[in-house]
């Protein structure tokens, strides 16, 4: 039988900072004020990412490549990570769905150009759909999930 590791105590540098300083409501309010100051700039970055993705989708439709797939995945993951912070949660979810599709795609087999194009069209619409228009967002997302589940179903664990 191998020797099992013995857990050891360590000093947590954050624990001494607890129970004083800013209260949660004040900290969250200030953080949200700060975030609103960069909202427009960040949404403009998402628009640039969408344009880059469109160019990559066109390029890979005729010449699929692992590098093109990786670049698309990274841009999509970036949008998935940022959009929800600024009230574009449905756009982020669509981008996440495209990440699923790209992650499950074998570039050497069949390249899902049509499915990628559908996702991009959906993301462009969701970029401008108001957060209150939940029905439109839900309909688009349901369609995108159906596409991914049909074209690239989740692998068995």
């Amino acid at each position: 039988m191998t020797a099992h590791p013995v857990p050891f105590a360590v000093k947590n540098p954050l624990s001494a900072k607890l129970n004083r300083g800013m209260a949660k409501p004040d900290a969250v309010r200030k953080a949200e004020e700060n975030l609103s100051s960069i909202k427009e700039k960040t949404l403009a970055e998402l628009d640039v990412a969408l344009v880059e993705m469109q160019a990559l989708a066109t390029q890979t439709a005729s010449a699929p490549s692992a590098s093109g797939q990786d670049a698309l995945y990274r841009l999509s993951n970036k949008i998935a990570g940022i959009a929800g912070t600024f009230g574009k949660g449905a756009l982020g979810e669509a981008a996440y769905c495209l990440c699923d599709l790209l992650d499950r795609t074998n570039v050497a087999a069949k390249w899902p150009a049509g499915s990628i194009a559908v996702h991009l069209e959906g993301m462009k619409i969701l970029r401008h759909v108001a957060a209150s228009d939940e029905k439109t967002a839900e309909a688009i997302l349901c369609g995108l999930y159906s596409v991914v589940n049909h074209v690239a179903p989740k692998p068995e664990p």
């Binding site: 129970n19 800013m22 949200e32 100051s37 998935a80």
Partner: protein, 201 residues
């Protein structure tokens, strides 16, 4: 989540905290900086790659490190493993938050085993990140350092060793169940749990 009293909101003074954020995209760096500044953090160092982060970790001591999983070359999981194994002692044991976006299927095990103190899923919100920092500040988990894993003990509760095995750690609970403190629930009480009735107020 409470502060000192049960109804008080939690408080934390991060004015003197030194925080390192390791995020490749400038937009996501800005988001984190705005949130952390709102919490009162004054010293925020940023790195956009694992190599850059390891250089600053050699020079500075951090109270908290926030790492995005999607870094190029060395990914966020590999960076956290390097922090837990190779960096200076003060940084090795620092609270590390892993920011998770979409994780490739092939990377799920790496995410589990990298040694992060907490995983926060993107998109970030000011409220959720604050709660996670408070949780980390209260975290008293011990550390484990062995050939296959270095990081906070992943057992949140000690359920005891499997039946038939002796405990391997001094704080393991006994594998033998004692006598119950209270009598078993009646069958009527169990049935009632499965068919809740509408409350009449």
């Amino acid at each position: 989540m409470a502060g000192k009293g049960p109804s008080e909101p939690p408080r934390i003074n991060l004015a003197t905290a030194q925080v390192l954020i390791v995020v490749a995209s400038g937009g996501e760096q800005d988001i984190l900086i705005q949130i952390l500044s709102g919490y009162g953090v004054r010293t925020i160092n940023r790195a956009s790659s694992g190599a850059e982060a390891l250089q600053t970790l050699e020079r500075e001591t951090y109270d908290m490190i926030i790492v995005d999983h999607a870094l190029s070359e060395m990914d966020g999981f590999e960076l956290i493993q390097a922090i837990r194994r190779e960096s200076r002692e003060a940084n090795r044991f620092a609270p590390v938050i892993l920011l998770g976006g979409h994780v490739r299927n092939a990377d799920v095990a790496k995410a589990r085993d990298c040694g992060a103190s907490f995983v926060v899923s993107k998109p970030l919100s000011a409220q959720v990140l604050f709660d996670r920092i408070i949780w980390l500040a209260r975290d008293q988990r011990k550390f484990v350092d062995c050939p296959v894993y270095a990081g906070p003990d992943r057992r949140f509760r000690a359920f005891g060793p499997p039946v038939g095995m002796s405990g391997r750690r001094h704080d393991d609970l006994s594998a033998t169940l004692g006598k119950p403190d209270e009598p078993n629930l009646s069958q009527d009480a169990i049935d009632a749990m499965f068919s809740p009735a509408k409350a009449s107020l």
